[in-house]
């Protein structure tokens, strides 16, 4: 470890340091409440964000294990934003007079570190380490509400399936290592280009297992079964963190593998990905239609969005171009924001005991809380992909790239899916505005969560009206990888 290594990964180090600082604050300052811990976390995340935004240094650190480039900088910023909003949602949600769940803060910080490592990893070892740092923190986060058996079971279910999928991922990595002779992605790419692995069983098994392992994390059908149960049982802020952060981090790792590690693969696996994309978005949307519980509905919507993102990956491999690839990064950032917004709504109306949030429970919200309802409307429109919200541009960039790459049929299927999805997103809006509220509903809502929702809604509208700067940021993000092959 040299000084230059450390300075290249400064954002990651600052978040790690923040996690340690929160732990120690909690350990030595007995009267530290959730407010104090939030403050400590926010300070360190802000420093990390400044380092991530200002970093013009690029290069590879730790003998090629991690890369500091515009790609990792983009994702570092995304994860820091996600973590900040999650802290805003969680700090009062977990503040209980008798027993505040202070473990929430360090765990969010360490999970963020894992995500950042995943986005920066250029070696299979670091991908695996980042993934596990993130996942193990999240297993605990999901099971954080020890009073609720639902939360404990969600945590356990997530852990069993997560560990199961990690084993597949690891096996895939082992076989790829065996066939290419390296764990370093660029070295592997060279080996693949040099030899060609058309008939190598070991190689294809490895690649397949790697895809299964990552497919679990991004909730790709048929490896999606855990998603609805885990989102449903987890505390609402944690579910939002999972939906936004885990998906972005897993896609970041997948993009690195696909774009830099294995660019010379033939059409065969692209066809396979097309099938996965179609099945994932269609199954997600159709099942989401039938849900009456908002958390489960959002879980299936998360699956559907994984399908749209897979369309983006199909469109950009193997011939990656900047404008096509930026769509995925743009989409991931926007998806994180709008999903956090939707889960903020659940945070607002659910208690710590983790009761189920029925869709019908939102009837008449607009009468009591017009501002919050307006924000929710923005989130739902954005998830559905209706202008002038940011979600619209995300879909435009990704689907346009698919058409340009010759996958017209795929793009049409994705559009049809978006039309189906509109129905269940807009149902929430209709319920809020068209019904009368029940008498005792929605009193004493948490102002901090409300403020976070307003910020998110404004951001989504702003990006929707002026997509240029964010698209440019995303383009810079992918430009780092475009040059590598």
């Amino acid at each position: 470890m040299t000084w230059s290594d450390a300075s290249l990964i400064a954002p990651i180090l600052w978040v790690t340091l923040g996690g340690v600082a929160v732990l120690m604050t909690d350990a030595f300052w007995r009267r530290a409440g959730t407010g104090h811990l939030t403050a400590v976390s926010v300070v360190f995340l802000t420093i990390a964000a400044i380092y991530a935004a200002r970093s013009d240094a690029s290069g590879s650190a730790f003998a090629g294990a991690l890369a500091a480039d515009s790609f990792s900088a983009f994702f570092n910023l995304t994860f820091i934003v996600v973590a900040l909003i999650t802290l805003a949602l969680g700090s009062s949600y977990f503040a209980d007079e008798e027993q505040p769940l202070v473990e929430f803060f360090p765990l969010v910080m360490f999970a963020t570190v894992g995500m950042m490592v995943m986005a920066a990893a250029t070696d299979m070892i670091t991908i695996f380490l980042g993934l596990e740092t993130m996942s193990i923190s999240l297993y605990v986060l999901a099971a954080l509400q020890r009073r609720s058996i639902l939360s404990m079971e969600a945590g356990f279910k997530y852990l069993i399936l997560g560990a199961f999928s990690s084993a597949f991922l690891l096996y895939g990595m082992a076989l790829l290592y065996g066939s290419t002779g390296s764990t370093h992605l660029p070295t592997m790419a060279t080996a693949i280009q040099g030899v060609g692995f058309d008939r190598d069983l070991l190689f294809w098994m490895g690649w397949g297992f790697l895809l299964v392992g990552l497919g679990f994390k991004i909730a790709m059908v048929p490896f999606h079964m855990w998603t609805p149960d885990v989102y449903d049982g987890s505390p609402a802020p944690v579910a939002g963190f999972m939906a936004a952060g885990v998906k972005a981090a897993s896609f970041a790792a997948m993009l690195r593998v696909v774009w830099t590690g294995l660019p010379a693969l033939g059409d065969m696996w692209i066809d396979m990905l097309v099938v996965f994309a179609v099945v994932t978005m269609t199954a997600g949307n159709l099942i989401a239609l039938a849900q009456s519980n908002l958390k489960r509905m959002l879980a299936y919507s998360a699956i559907a969005h994984a399908g749209y993102l897979l369309v983006g990956i199909v469109a950009t491999t193997p011939s990656m171009t900047d404008p096509a690839a930026r769509g995925i990064l743009f989409y991931l950032m926007v998806y994180a924001l709008m999903n956090l917004g939707a889960f903020a709504l659940i945070t607002l109306v659910s208690s710590r005991e983790g009761e189920k949030v029925d869709l019908a429970g939102f009837a008449g919200l607009a009468r009591r809380h017009p501002v919050i309802s307006a924000c929710v409307t923005v989130f739902m429109l954005s998830l559905a992909g209706i202008p002038p919200t940011a979600g619209f541009w995300g879909k435009v960039y990704v689907f346009e790239a698919a058409v340009r790459d010759g996958h017209t049929v795929l793009a049409v299927i994705a559009l049809l899916n978006s039309a189906v999805a509109m129905f269940y997103y807009l149902r929430v809006v209709v319920l809020m505005y068209m019904r009368e509220p029940e008498d005792e509903a929605y009193t004493g809502l948490d102002p901090q969560v409300g403020a976070a929702m307003v910020v998110l809604a404004v951001a989504l509208l702003w990006i929707g009206l002026f997509p240029g700067p964010m698209a440019e940021l995303a383009r810079q993000g992918v430009s780092a990888l475009a040059g590598s092959f």
């Binding site: 470890m1 040299t2 340690v20 732990l23 120690m24 909690d26 350990a27 030595f28």
Partner: protein, 122 residues
């Protein structure tokens, strides 16, 4: 390979004789099964309760903490083994600092456990 044949012989003789004595005593020895003889031997006093004991949950917490810290030493050994070669290449200082960072994080974990009372035995 031939050097191992005596060892193989010793092992097989040991196995054969052990089995032989067990089988012979089973076949030739008298067998009177009384309840007193069939109970588990606990220093000669009559046994009470079942053997299916519940363990104090503290054991479990200590075992978990031990497991985690125990496995961290996995990283210590390869570092120690290759440290000399790093020193020879002039990277000794860096590697030392790297291990200090790793140890620092472990100590943070230990302090957290201590302050949270996980190490208290009531």
């Amino acid at each position: 390979m031939n050097a191992y044949i005596p060892i193989l012989l010793v092992v097989s003789i040991a196995v054969v004789f052990t089995l032989l004595f067990v089988v012979l005593s089973r076949v030739l020895g008298p067998s009177h099964r009384t309840p007193g003889k069939l109970t588990a031997y606990e220093c000669g006093i009559p046994s009470r309760g079942t053997t299916n004991l519940k363990f104090y949950v503290r054991f479990y917490v200590v075992a978990l903490l031990f497991l985690l810290f125990d496995l961290e030493t996995v990283f210590l050994v390869p570092w120690a083994v290759s440290f000399r070669s790093f020193v020879e290449r002039g990277m000794g200082g860096q590697m030392f600092v790297a291990m200090l960072v790793f140890f620092g994080l472990l100590v943070v974990g230990l302090i957290y456990e201590w302050r949270k009372g996980a190490l208290e035995w009531e």
